[in-house]
């Protein structure tokens, strides 16, 4: 039985029934210090995905420093992002600022002629001084048309948390999508950045199922924006796309409610919802997905041995926490100590919430110190958190899995189910391996060189 009452594929028979975790589930809503990234961070994976786009952050040195710190050595892989750093003299008068921006963009496009799409990305400083980047984008678009399209969105920390930057970016693309024609067939639109390898796997799966035509947003090139309209069925691949989905629905697209394609259960239910919308025979569905489910089961088996009965605590980060918690609880047998998420979109998350174990403790937002107190009190076996917290918690004797990797690695779909479980199992396995080292002083039998003849 899938989350929203769609047909239950045979492949899913025998998995734990969804215990009623009503969508009205109480959630602890907290305010206080948030230890999270801002939406600018999304640029790090978005610029790899849309291959002819450039992301120009209009912000401060802090913004440049953030991207540099988060992107590490990627800066030297000829990245297609940069920061236009606001200086004192820009703050003196806004008219001058638009001129400055035009100059920077002109110089940039001169030097990077292969760029077809330029995003002006708003930041906290640009939002606070009310620098109107949408007007700047229109002005620059008319200036550089038809060679370059200029769009804008905000990745500022005051408006966006981490992955919401992707939502804002994709939302800026929606008005640019062509409208369906009257002759357009029913189509499937998969929304959310996926690793290329995962996208290709899903393409093959939909083709085998007979679901199509299938389009992905964002496309790999800005010239391939898919059409949208009443014939479009919208399937979210990521849980953090509230605004993008809203704008697509405004353009007539019909959203298919589904859990997210993490783990076997999530992937199967996600595919099943699309298959049903396209009237695919359940027998065919089972024939296509059965072998892949079997393979993923084999991959997950060994990790279940490692993770079963272990407790996990999620600090808020990306909005992937709830689907990940669902996977860890239902397919790997972990106990959920707390599932924190930066933002909870009740409607999009409903199918996921319905699958969570009864009594799961959810929290939205953050009061960092209080949450750390709860975490220490719970002494979970595994803490999923950001890089600012991981080492300090390790030093306190807790085992951590840093959460950003879940965004930077291919984790969706059947073939990645094992890899995803491995990400959670590895820190625990490592701690067990190093347990002896942690005991001070070492009381282990010293290694001796055996003398000849011994």
């Amino acid at each position: 039985m899938t989350a929203d009452g769609n047909f239950a594929p045979a492949a899913l028979q025998g998995s734990r029934p969804a215990e009623a975790c009503a969508p009205e589930l109480p959630v602890l809503v907290e305010r206080g210090q948030h230890e999270v990234f801002c939406g600018l961070t999304g640029i790090i994976w978005l610029h790899r995905k849309i291959q002819d786009a450039f992301f120009l952050v209009v912000g401060s040195r802090t913004c440049a420093h953030l991207i540099q710190s988060a992107a590490g050595v990627m800066i030297f892989a000829e990245p297609r992002f940069a920061t236009a750093i606001i200086e004192d003299r820009d703050l003196a008068g806004l008219a001058d600022m638009n001129d400055e921006l035009d100059k920077v963009v002109g110089r940039l496009l001169e030097r990077r002629p292969e760029i077809k799409l330029l995003f002006l990305v708003g930041s906290c400083p640009s939002e606070v001084i009310k620098l109107d980047l949408s007007r700047a984008a229109q002005r620059l678009s008319s200036l550089h048309a038809p060679r370059v399209r200029v769009l804008s969105y905000s990745g500022s920390g005051i408006e966006t948390t981490f992955t919401q930057g992707e939502d804002a970016c994709l939302a800026a693309l929606v008005p640019q999508m062509p409208a369906e024609t009257s002759a357009s067939p029913r189509s499937l639109l998969v929304v959310g950045c996926l690793a290329d390898v995962v996208e290709d796997q899903f393409r093959r799966l939909f083709a085998e199922l007979g679901v199509g035509p299938v389009h992905f947003l964002p496309p790999r090139s800005s010239g391939e924006l898919p059409p949208v309209g009443p014939q479009t069925h919208l399937l979210l691949a990521q849980p953090f796309l509230a605004e993008t989905a809203r704008l697509l629905e405004n353009r007539g697209a019909r959203r298919l409610a589904a859990p997210f394609p993490l783990g076997i259960e999530g992937t199967t239910a996600w595919l099943a919802v699309a298959a049903r919308a396209f009237g695919i025979d359940p027998l065919r569905f089972d024939a296509v997905t059965g072998p892949k489910i079997e393979r993923a089961r084999r991959a997950l088996q060994r990790y279940r041995k490692e993770l079963e009965g272990k407790s996990v605590f999620f600090f808020p980060d990306s909005q992937l926490e709830i689907p990940l918690a669902r996977l860890l609880a239902r397919e790997l047998g972990m106990e959920l100590a707390e599932v924190g998420t930066p933002y909870l979109h009740r409607r999009h998350m409903a199918p996921e919430l319905a699958l969570l174990p009864m009594g799961t403790f959810l929290s939205q937002g953050q009061h960092l110190d209080r949450q750390l107190d709860r975490c220490r009190a719970a002494r979970p076996d595994l803490v999923v958190c950001g890089l600012g917290l991981a080492n300090p918690l390790e030093a306190e004797g807790l085992t951590t899995k840093w959460s950003i990797e879940l965004l930077f690695s291919p984790v969706q779909g059947y073939e990645q189910a094992g890899d995803l479980a491995e990400l959670f199992a590895r820190p625990l396995r490592r701690r067990a391996k190093l347990a002896r080292l942690a005991e001070a002083p070492a009381r282990a039998e010293p290694v001796r060189i055996l003398a000849a003849g011994e």
């Binding site: 420093h65 953030l66 030297f76 920061t83 002629p113 001084i129 005051i158 408006e159 948390t161 917290l389």
Partner: protein, 528 residues
């Protein structure tokens, strides 16, 4: 507006964090939007700290901008003091906090906290990280040591613990390049001189330690970028002189010892270098002969760049062909050092300019920061890191100071390691067409299968943002095919120089077509 990809320095509030994190019992409340907490991971990941930096962020969001951001700040400050019980509180704003004009200093004072509150004014749109650290340290010293300042005109009281001279060590912070081991090395050195170290600050100092800075006889300034303004204030206020030589390199260490002994009023003890200073002998030993005249490009913060230039010329016998810094505060010192070497300093914080300069000069070794490491990798030039900003591998587990005699030993090893060993280099010249020894072969110590980037074969000027009208990186016209082929037989690490010299030679003499003869004429003219 400045178009930036890489930035050598973070914003000034990151400098303030470096000081707060270095101190023991001081907390920093930062008025900053959600997202600015990214800076925590510099400390927890790059420096591998085992606890969170002592920083509380207000992390305001758009919905807070209606006017309760000031309330948010006060609440954060109150909670931080209650929870962490610091001995003093630093308060300030990040770049966005600066724009919303909440005045953290005034707000914190209004709370009547039971501890000193130190407001920080860090202009984010003009200044950068090192300035922010220096300013924060200066304000902290002023606020905490100020109350014990003697009345103007009163002489310094006699030291409490007798005649043994004492000093403070100023400047080491969190996220400082090799600060941990530099401090250990300098403390050890001062110990052998019979000088007592009263306080090391900010690294490891508590608020009480800062309060008694005025009691020592003089101050040792390890990193002028970070500690000069505090040292100047201590001199004005307590009459403490401070050191001006940074002990990086054997010669500088000797000068530093002389300076310190002068300030302490003691003779220089004999035999300090015995067993400790191996670098001078290593450098004189015959295996190092091949280092003579190697062309080196140096870039980093002002202190490390100037120190490296001296070591390179006086202690390793290199030729410094380029010297520069991203620290505008140190531009004068770096210009003077470059002037002494007869070159012009490169003062810039745009790494594309640095990259262009490295490509143009075609050095045989680059000494720089994390960025220069990448630039050198692109250009296929050996490189060693001498200055922040650095990555996680330059916060090593092993003892590896830059200062003192052991620092000089560390520097000798780390600069020479990326170069090909003398004999290897020699054989490469002998057997140019060797099937294993050729352009594609990197130094053997880099392991089998390591390849020299193709970029080495041509001295083009790459850029992260290539210009639209860049010519394709083919050999420039004006070379006969035969001359081009002969050029390829010259070992790759001097080929760029040979090409440039030959073209200059041809241009000066109006030679339109470069032949093999031109190549060897130029070689004879320029030497090597």
């Amino acid at each position: 507006m400045q178009l930036t990809l890489w930035t050598y320095e973070g914003p000034p509030h990151v400098g303030a964090m470096r000081v707060a994190t270095a101190l023991k019992d001081v907390h920093y409340v930062l008025h900053a939007p959600q997202g600015d907490t990214y800076a925590d991971l510099l400390f927890t990941m790059i420096e591998r700290r085992d606890r969170r930096p002592p920083v509380t962020y207000t992390t305001f969001q758009a919905r807070d901008l209606g006017g309760d951001t000031a309330e948010l700040f006060k609440e954060a400050a109150r909670d931080a003091v209650a929870r962490f019980k610091p001995a003093a509180l630093l308060v300030g704003a990040s770049c966005t906090g600066e724009l919303i004009q909440d005045d953290p200093g005034g707000l914190a004072r209004a709370l009547n906290l039971p501890i000193p509150v130190i407001p920080l004014e860090l202009p984010s749109y003009q200044k950068k990280e090192n300035w922010g650290a220096a300013e924060t340290f200066y304000q902290t010293v002023r606020a905490l040591a100020g109350p014990s300042a003697p009345q103007p005109g009163r002489p310094r009281p006699a030291p409490a613990d007798g005649p043994r001279p004492s000093c403070n060590i100023l400047g080491p912070t969190a996220l400082g390049f090799r600060h941990r081991d530099d401090v250990a090395e300098v403390v050890k050195l001062l110990g052998t001189l019979g000088i007592r170290v009263a306080v090391v600050a900010p690294m490891g100092a508590a608020a009480d330690d800062i309060a008694r800075l005025g009691e020592a006889d003089f101050n040792v300034v390890l990193y002028p970028e970070l500690a000069l303004s505090a040292a100047q204030w201590l001199k004005r206020t307590f009459g403490q002189p401070f050191t001006t030589v940074v002990p990086i390199g054997t010669g500088a260490t000797r000068d530093f010892i002389a300076e310190v002994c002068g300030l302490a009023g003691i003779p220089v003890p004999p035999g300090l270098e015995e067993g400790a200073a191996r670098a001078p002998w290593y450098s004189r030993s015959v295996d190092s002969t091949y280092l003579t005249g190697k062309r080196v490009f140096i870039f980093g913060d002002g202190t490390h760049a100037v120190a490296a230039a001296r070591i390179a010329t006086e202690e390793l016998g290199f030729e410094v062909v380029g010297l520069g810094t991203y620290s505008r505060e140190m531009a004068r010192e770096v210009r003077a050092a470059a002037g002494r070497l007869g070159i012009e300093a490169l003062i810039t914080d745009d790494y594309l300019e640095v990259e262009a300069k490295v490509a143009e000069l075609a050095p045989e070794l680059v000494l720089g920061t994390q960025m220069e490491r990448h630039i050198a990798k692109r250009l296929g030039v050996p490189c060693a890191v001498i200055s922040a900003p650095v990555h996680v591998q330059d916060f090593p587990a092993r003892y590896s100071p830059q200062m003192g005699f052991e620092g000089a030993n560390v520097i000798f090893d780390s600069w020479v390691h990326p170069l090909m060993m003398g004999l290897e280099e020699h054989l490469l010249g002998m057997f140019r067409e060797d099937f294993e020894f050729n352009d594609g072969a990197a130094p053997s110590h880099l392991g089998p299968g390591s390849k020299v980037p193709a970029a080495v074969a041509r001295a083009t000027v790459p850029a992260i943002i290539p210009a639209a009208n860049d010519p394709a990186p083919a050999g420039p016209s004006g070379w006969t095919l035969e001359a081009e082929r002969e050029l390829q037989k010259i070992p790759f690490f001097v080929r760029g120089k040979a090409r440039r010299n030959t073209e200059r030679f041809a241009q000066e003499r109006g030679v339109a077509l470069i032949t093999v003869e031109t190549l060897y004429d130029a070689k004879a003219h320029f030497g090597r």
